[in-house]
Amino acid sequence: MSPREIFALRDHLGAELKGRTLSDPRTSVSLTDILSQTVLGGRLRELSGRSVLLKLADQLRSGLAMIELDGIASRMLLCPPDLNPAHLDALMADAGIDAVVTDEPGRWADSGVSLVVTAQLPLEATAPAKTERATEWLMLTSGTSGVPKIVGHTLEALTGAIVAEGPARGPAPVWATFYDIRRYGGLQIFLRAILSGGSMVLSDPHEALGDHVARLKARGVSHISGTPSHWRKLLMSGSATQFAPAYVRLSGEIADQAVLDGLKAAFPNSSVGHAYASTEAGVGFAVNDGLEGFPADYLGNRNGVEMKVVDGSLRIRSTRTAHAYVGRSAAALTDDDGFVDSGDIVELRGDRYYFVGRRGGIINIGGLKVNPEEIEAVINRHPDVRMSRAKSRKSPITGGIVVADVILADGTDQARAKEIRDQILAQCRAQLASHKVPAVIRFVEALDVTPAGKLARTDA
C-alpha cells in the first residue's frame, strides 16, 4: 500500500485561478501567482523540518507565511495578537520551537533561537516549493486567564468540514471575517478562502467598523463570519446598510434567536447560518434553518461527526478534532473513547437542543447554578435590546444575585427606559426560574468584547 498522499495549502493554490487576492487595509496580494513568490525572503529551505513560531504583527504576512510553511515546516505555532508576552517562553518550550518567523528580527537577536527569519513585503520571486510532509498546526486556546493551552491540528483535520461540504456553487467566494486568522474561527475562514478558489479580506484591529464595512463592500465580500458579539456590534453601528453578503455566518458564541433574527432583518437576501466549532473539538456542524440551537437528530453519527451529550455537555468525536494538547504537562484532549468534551452545556427542549452556557461560566446564585447565557437569551428577545450580559453580584442576603447590563438598540428613547426595564423583567419572570431573574438591570453604552470576539466575562 502506498502512503497516503499529503496535501498542503500550496496544493490548493495554482496559477489557473485568476483574480484571487488576500488583502488588508494597506496591501492586496495576488494569490494567483503566490507559489512563485516568497514572504520569507527566499529562506523557506532553511525552515524545512523545523518547529516554527509565527510571531507577526499583522494577519497578511501571517497568512502568506502559513501558505509557504505548510508542508515544509515540521510544525508551526500561530500566535494571536493578544497573546500575553509573559507566556511566550513557556509556550515556546512546550512546542519545542527552534525557529522564528518575525517582523522584528532585532528583538530575537539575543534570544537563543538559532534560526530567525524575517517576513517581509513586498513579496520576492522564488522557485515554487514542493510539499514534503504534513505540517502540524499548533493553535492557542482563547481561555481567559493563565497560560493558554497549545492545541495540535493537522491541515486534514482543520479542513475536514470544508472538504465535506464540497466546492461552492457559483462564482468563487470572497470571504471575510471579523476574527483574526490566527484563531481557530478566523483560520477556518482563511482556509475556506484558500480551498474554495476564492479571495479573502482580512480584518484590522485599528480600523473603525464603518471603514471596515466600506472595505468589505468595495472588495465585493460575499461570505462573512463573526461571533454573535461581532455581529451585534455591527448591527448597533448602523454600518450594515448597503452591505449585502450572500452568506452570513456566526460561530464562537451562542447564536441566540434575537441575533439570528436581527441579521435576517438586516440582510434579507442573505443566508444566515450558525456553526458550532471550537479550537479543540474542531467544526461540529452548521445550522442553516434560521433557528437557534440544533435539531436533536444531529446527535449520533452524522457526516463522520459523532456527538453525544453526557452530564449535560456536548461531546464530539471526529477526524476534525485536534489530536492532542502539546507540552510537557499537557492533559489528555479526549476521553478514552476519543471524544472531546466541549464544555458547552446543552438542554433538550422538544426536538431541539439549545446551548445554555459554558460549564466554566456557571455563576452561583444562593447555591443554585445559573448559566448567564440563558438569561441573556431571554433579555435579548426584547425588541429594543441589542446586547446584554448577565453576571453575579454579591448579596449580603443570599450570597449572590443576578444582575444584567443591557445595551438598547440605536435610537431608543431614553424616556422609555423604565418601561423597557419593566418589560424585560416581566419577560424574564415569565420564562425563567425566579432566582435567574435579574435583580438589577443597568442600561450601558458598551460591553467589553475580548480580542477573540467574545463577550468579556472576566468578572462572571
Binding site: R393, S395, I397, I401, V403, L425, S434, A439, V440
Partner: protein
Amino acid sequence: MSVRSKVIEAIRQIAKEQNVTLPELSDDLSLHETGFDSLAFAILVARLEDDTGVDPFTISEDAAFPATVGDFVRAYENVPA
C-alpha cells in the same frame, strides 16, 4: 427624596414585580410579615445600593439584619456619610 421614601418606594416596586401584597408599612411591622422572601430582600438591598450608594449590611461587620421595617429604614438613614 428622603432616604425613607426611597426605601419605601423600592419596597413597593419590588412587591409589585414579585406579586407580593404588602400590608400597611408601619415602622413596627416585622420584615417577615411583609411577605418578602430572601430573594426579594436581596433585590431590595441591591437596588438601594445602586440608588443610595450604600449597602449597610455589607459595610458593618457585626450588622444584625433588621427585624422590622423601621429598623431596615434606619439602617440606611444611619449610614455615616
